[in-house]
Amino acid sequence: MSLKTPLGHVRGLGSAKSGTHHWWLQRVTAIGMLLLMIWFVVSLIGLRGASFEEATAWISQPLVSVIMLVLIGTAFYHMRLGIQVVIEDYLHGALRIAGIVALNFGTALLSAACLFSVLKIAFGA
């Protein structure tokens, strides 16, 4: 039996029992995206019209591969958090649950495809 007061059990957690976790990670990933996308856009300008060899050589550099992997993880996490809020705003009942399950499946599939592609190019297979 806990000696915490009933108020102590719920303080800071809200009705979803997760407090500001979602809100906070949306902000943390936003700051990450700000830095990563500036790097990405500048890199893509440099890569305009790149041949297959030039593009694979660029991604194969260890530092570029690692930043790309971090970018993919951050982008899909940030996207998933944002779309979840949109689904929760506009869909209700069973449709909402189906929407969030579909969102999780889609995020897993696309992010796995991106991560695998970068690793395949980086390891030169």
Binding site: I45, V86, L110, A113, I121
Partner: protein, 131 residues
């Protein structure tokens, strides 16, 4: 879970259509719309990476589509959506600290995001096409 799809007979508060648009409303709406657009942009990123991982033929197909007129119009659209979402995202982060919440400040900040997103898009595509 409660059934929220029952017919509504009580009076409802007015929604978007009765208000005159203000810069602050536009920036808020655009933040969500550009966020949704960028979600489809992740499919584009996936396509590009899969194409590069699949070999020279699929990469040259991807690049020829990306550098076609329609491809470039779509990419310019994604560039603007990215910068608008980025600028209004920074606006959100600033406002989260409690700053720029006064009506006049928040309106100026909204205009700043539009100028910034169009300006940065023009800068990037000038670099792509002329650089």
């Amino acid at each position: 879970m409660s059934d929220v799809n029952r017919p509504v007979s009580r009076p409802l508060s007015p929604h978007l259509q009765v208000y005159a648009w203000t810069p602050t409303m536009v920036v808020s709406t655009l933040h969500r719309l550009t966020g949704l657009a960028l979600t489809s942009g992740t499919a584009l990123l996936t396509w590009g990476l899969i194409a590069l991982a699949s070999g020279p033929e699929s990469w040259s197909l991807f690049m020829s589509l990306a550098s076609s007129l329609i491809g470039m119009v779509i990419l310019i659209g994604f560039t603007w959506a990215l910068f608008q979402h980025m600028m209004s995202g920074v606006r959100h982060l600033v406002m989260d600290t409690g700053a720029a919440l006064k009506v006049d400040d928040s309106r100026k900040f909204a205009w700043f995001t539009f100028v910034g997103s169009f300006g940065l898009t023009a800068l990037v595509w000038a670099a792509v096409l002329l650089g």
